[in-house]
Symmetry: C2
Subunit: 358 residues, 2 copies
Amino acid sequence: SKRYSITLLPGDGIGPEVISVAKRVLNLAGSLEGIEFNFQEMPMGGSALDLVGVPLPEETLSAAKKSDAVLLGAIGGYKWDKNEKHLKPETGLLQLREGLGVFANLRPATVLPQLVDASTLKKEVAEGVDLMVVRELTGGIYFGKPRGFGTNEDGEEIGFNTEVYATYEVDRIARVAFETARKRHGKLCSVDKANVLEASMFWRKRVIAVAAEYPDVELSHMYVDNAAMQLVRNPKQFDTIVTNNIFGDILSDEASMITGSIGMLPSASLGSTGPGLFEPIHGSAPDIANQDKANPLATVLSAAMLLKYGLGEENAAKRIENAVLDTLNKGFRTGDIYSAGNKLVGCKEMGEEVLKSV
Amino acid sequence: SKRYSITLLPGDGIGPEVISVAKRVLNLAGSLEGIEFNFQEMPMGGSALDLVGVPLPEETLSAAKKSDAVLLGAIGGYKWDKNEKHLKPETGLLQLREGLGVFANLRPATVLPQLVDASTLKKEVAEGVDLMVVRELTGGIYFGKPRGFGTNEDGEEIGFNTEVYATYEVDRIARVAFETARKRHGKLCSVDKANVLEASMFWRKRVIAVAAEYPDVELSHMYVDNAAMQLVRNPKQFDTIVTNNIFGDILSDEASMITGSIGMLPSASLGSTGPGLFEPIHGSAPDIANQDKANPLATVLSAAMLLKYGLGEENAAKRIENAVLDTLNKGFRTGDIYSAGNKLVGCKEMGEEVLKSV
Ligand SMILES: CC(C)[C@H](C(=O)O)[C@@H](O)C(=O)O
Ligand SMILES: CC(C)[C@H](C(=O)O)[C@@H](O)C(=O)O
């Protein structure tokens, strides 16, 4: 039987609850496919800050690097919100992404027929939405230098950051995006602000250059302000979207809210080599932590992405995806996706139900 | 009788059609309030490129500077999309904003009861939305230096921009935002990405400092990715939003699409002294140019903002606003906001109807 080592990073808030469900689901799906997992839980985020004073302990990063894949719950909370930058949970996440070199962040936004009513969009606008945002994750304004605080020529205080992309950075994310589009419906929309920003003009130039390798994929370009509108106007027009780190942060969250069920949405962050990082797109939801109210399905589906994109174990991934659909079809709903006529369950019970269908 | 000089910049696409309606409406509303206008039409955008080879001729900028207010139609079109940066219509707009020093861009997004069905959002989510985005317009990554193209340490080509804010820039936009919130419902939400960007941490620090002058306004902070979600989830939670240039570009467009009727939405750009710049938020819509199909109401309402914010002529502004509401109540609709049971009209006829109600 095959063996994989998985680093689990439960993190903060509802993180430990949803990770514990996903771990059980992974174990079961694995065992049915002849796969064994070696799980190692490591501290990260606010809980690591409380424990050892940094948001990403060295031991956590090196364990993650040595494993075959990393599954993260969620990080952050009011408690650490006012911390200095290097002591913020979010900084730990950025260090983890950088440390693992996971430059390609895949964020699907799918409206399941079972949950179409959860969207604030009209049914006819929301139904059938099935798009993928491919976000550049280790470059751009998140990591660009110079950055910091200083004074300008007039002696005024300033705060500044640098948006910067190099050829290899755009080329590699573009390739992931074209490959992704090719496996989906063959349409790729590159989002930028090339009518104003040089970094975006450069981005567009490289995306067009890489497009020559993918003549079968239909490439279009859209300005980011228009993309933010089009996601509201007619999200179905999109198949695969590729964009930079900050625009991807904004647009993928907007797209996820359009589905109305962000408690359902997984993500995968991949590098060229080494383990991928898999996490739900929702946050740590400190308000409902430790109350057995969290929706574990985004993390369960992140585990499915881990199997598919991280380990190439498509069969085990399919088992989990189908189990989630079965559970929804049976009418089980956590509070965030509850609607009349369904069965309201907590995090654990939702986990039990998924396990029954794996 | 009072006299004001107004620079009209019809621009490209549907620009001339909507400006011509707004001019007639201004003339009539003015004459009924004892105001006389001196209009001067100047070239700008793509049409200026075609005419004199630059998107903002010097004569246009100096005429604009000398006038009491500037009313712009729309700029841009496929024809000039591939131009080099300094020959893009958009560059002319940025030069105009910078030249006039209009650092505060006010973009209301209001769902009128008459048009609630135009929104792609469910009625209960869209109805009653009435928010104002205060966008910083002459700073940040749009204007920050250094910017351009180059090579990095590894000899790789790069494209880069600088996001930078100085104390006076944040302070003055924050003051406009607090004043705006005070005249509305007293709630201000400052949107940033202070969990990642130093420029945002600085922004937040200054907004908090300025807040001390406005103890009656309730200030909150939100990360931009969350704001993009909340606008979809529950736009009614917002009263006034203040944010930087690029986030404001994205969020104000998202907010406008939430109303479902961007053909209705005006904007005002104000400086500390000198004339303000008023323009519809929609684009130049080259597809429907010269077909008498454009919705002139966003430009008519921009003329109302010109009267109110630019000239302090509240009565004349009210006349125009009421005339627009009357016209909608009578059921007149251009194609973009048409729904069954109403009367479909073209740009000119819509103008005639508004004139009847001024
Ligand atoms: C927590 C934060 C640093 C992070 C980001 O901005 O990338 C989050 O919003 C995300 O999208 O994963
Ligand atoms: C045309 C473009 C330069 C402009 C901007 O980005 O500011 C437009 O999108 C706007 O919002 O007015």
